[in-house]
């Protein structure tokens, strides 16, 4: 692909055959779902029609947007806090060899602690409140971001630092102009991972420690054996994550890292 010199990144050809393939896949899944639902009671496996009705209901009465909004808000707060602490901590641990060596075992330990355990701690400490969900998201996302940023600082090219030295560039400019662009891809992939995890664990936290949000609604629907509503909430979550991933993260990544040769091969 670099044979013709300049490569234009971000150009995606509209592939009709691909769209057709995806369409066939969706129809096949829907058909299997519908056929299986015929032979089962609706509280075990509701059919697509029932789920569609449940979905229309929660959209119409405003339930969807309220709960989706509150969950998204909690995830965002936890995520932003994790990014704000994880980025400087990761840079610090990468820049300071002794501190890095000292704290190295902490991260794997933090990563092993299940989010459900954080959720239980959060309920003990914060009770039924926003802070519970935010805490769980934070504790899950932060180690991921630190690990990635840390790795990023270790990949800073010493030759570029030498280049800046020859140009008599002050240290703070070296941080901004060399360290930051090097770390950014690592931070981004860490943040993406953290956001995905954070979103998932927020539901766990909400099912046990909240009185609003998608997780709470899911548990409520399950308690009432409204399986059609469980499906409806799940569907909205999937759609929302896909929208954020493909509508925001992917284009942002493609733009930010257009200088990377392999970023365009997808």
């Amino acid at each position: 692909m670099d044979s013709d010199g300049l490569v234009q990144p971000g150009l995606h050809k509209l592939r009709l055959d691909l769209i057709a393939e995806r369409l066939v896949l969706v129809i096949a899944v829907l058909a299997i779902w519908w056929l299986s639902s015929l032979s089962m009671p609706h509280y075990i496996l509701p059919g697509p029609g029932r789920v569609w009705d449940a979905l229309r209901l929660i959209v119409a009465n405003g339930d969807l947007w309220n709960n989706l909004g509150i969950t998204l808000w909690r995830v965002a707060v936890g995520f932003v806090l994790a990014a704000l602490t994880g980025l400087p901590l990761g840079i610090f641990l990468g820049a300071n060899k002794r501190a890095g060596e000292f704290f190295e075992p902490v991260l794997p330990v933090l990563n092993t602690v299940s989010s459900a355990i954080w959720a239980i701690f959060a309920i003990i400490w914060f009770g039924i409140s926003n802070a519970t969900t935010i805490f769980v998201v934070f504790m899950t996302a932060m180690p991921l971001i630190i690990t990635n940023v840390w790795q990023g600082t270790r990949s800073v090219n010493a030759d570029f630092i030498e280049l800046a030295q020859v140009l008599r560039m002050p240290q703070w400019k070296v941080m901004i102009k060399i360290y930051l662009p090097t770390i950014l891809p690592y931070f981004f992939s860490g943040a993406r991972l953290a956001f995905g995890f954070g979103w998932r664990v927020s539901l766990v936290a909400e099912t046990i420690g909240s009185s609003s949000g998608v997780g709470y609604r899911l548990r409520q629907a399950a308690d009432l054996i409204r399986t059609d509503q469980v499906f409806a909430w799940t569907l909205t979550l999937v759609i929302m994550m896909a929208t954020i991933e493909m509508g925001m993260m992917k284009p942002l990544e493609n733009y930010l890292f257009r200088w990377k040769k392999d970023a365009q091969t997808e």
Binding site: D159, V166, L167, F257, W259, K260
Partner: protein, 265 residues
């Protein structure tokens, strides 16, 4: 106090001689390697006249790159004095700036060609528009203005080398230091870069000091070749090349110089 003694050391001494672009006085440098020390440079003296091209040549370990790094200020000598345009090199000055070109191009992969050239101007507080204008002009000088918005991965080795050259020229240095600048290019591209360098030298008249291990490169480009010998690194001999440029390896005079240089190292 300290400064005044430094300045007297740096002044040329003989009134009839032009102030040298670079003056090295009794440079010593040792590196520690485990518990043993290696004398990389011992008692090195060198005078580089303004607007000339000087090659530093020698086997590996003769300290030629270290010497270049001492001139650029990346490495501090243990003893001796570096004078740049008649002033102590620590007194980094605007009227006689130094450009540096590395062995590899060292382009920042996240920056386009023009933004890579601008990088050299970002140490001070020059406004962005002025940086862009100068970087554009310098890319034009190296005949690469058509590729100013390309990222390094989109450029060929020769093009990348030109961007690196532009980056070291954009500050309009009076002295250009180059550490085996074209050694990683193929022979054909290297020959093109030689022409390019000489063309820019005719235009800008900067002083050039370059390190090479290639006798042909030294004989083709330099006015003077400083031959270095290792352990401890010293300048063994200075060969003046009288043949006018442009030169060609097929010229008998050039071949003779090459043989002489090869015999010396």
């Amino acid at each position: 106090m300290m400064n005044s003694t430094v300045l007297t050391q740096c002044s040329p001494g003989e009134a009839d001689q032009a102030v040298p672009a670079i003056r090295l006085l009794d440079i010593d440098k040792t590196f520690a390697n485990g518990n043993q020390t290696i004398e990389v440079l011992k008692n090195v003296n060198l005078r580089v006249a303004p607007e000339t091209i000087v090659a530093l040549i020698g086997t590996s370990g003769s300290g030629k790159s270290t010497l270049l790094n001492i001139v650029s200020g990346i490495v501090k000598p243990d003893r001796g004095q570096v004078c740049i345009c008649g002033a102590a090199s620590e007194a980094f000055n605007d009227w006689c700036s130094v450009g540096y070109m590395f062995q590899d191009d060292r382009l920042l992969p996240w920056r386009t060609a023009i933004r890579n050239v601008e990088f050299a101007l970002e140490t001070g507080s020059m406004p962005k528009s002025e940086r862009t204008r100068r970087a554009g002009e310098t890319l034009q000088l190296v005949e690469l203005d058509g590729f100013k918005d390309a990222f390094p991965y989109q450029l060929s080795g020769g093009m990348r080398s030109r961007v690196a050259l532009a980056r070291s020229l954009v500050t309009e240095p009076r002295i250009l230091l180059m550490d085996e600048p074209f050694s990683r290019l193929d022979a054909q591209t290297r020959a093109l870069m030689h022409e390019e360098l000489l063309r820019i030298h005719r235009l800008k008249r900067m002083t050039v000091v370059f390190v090479t291990h290639d006798v042909a490169e030294a004989a083709l480009l330099a006015d003077e070749v400083a031959v270095m010998s290792p352990r401890p690194g010293t300048i063994k001999e200075i060969v003046k090349i009288m043949q006018p440029r442009p030169r060609d390896v097929t010229q008998p005079e050039v071949t003779e110089y090459m043989q002489r240089l090869r015999a010396l190292i």
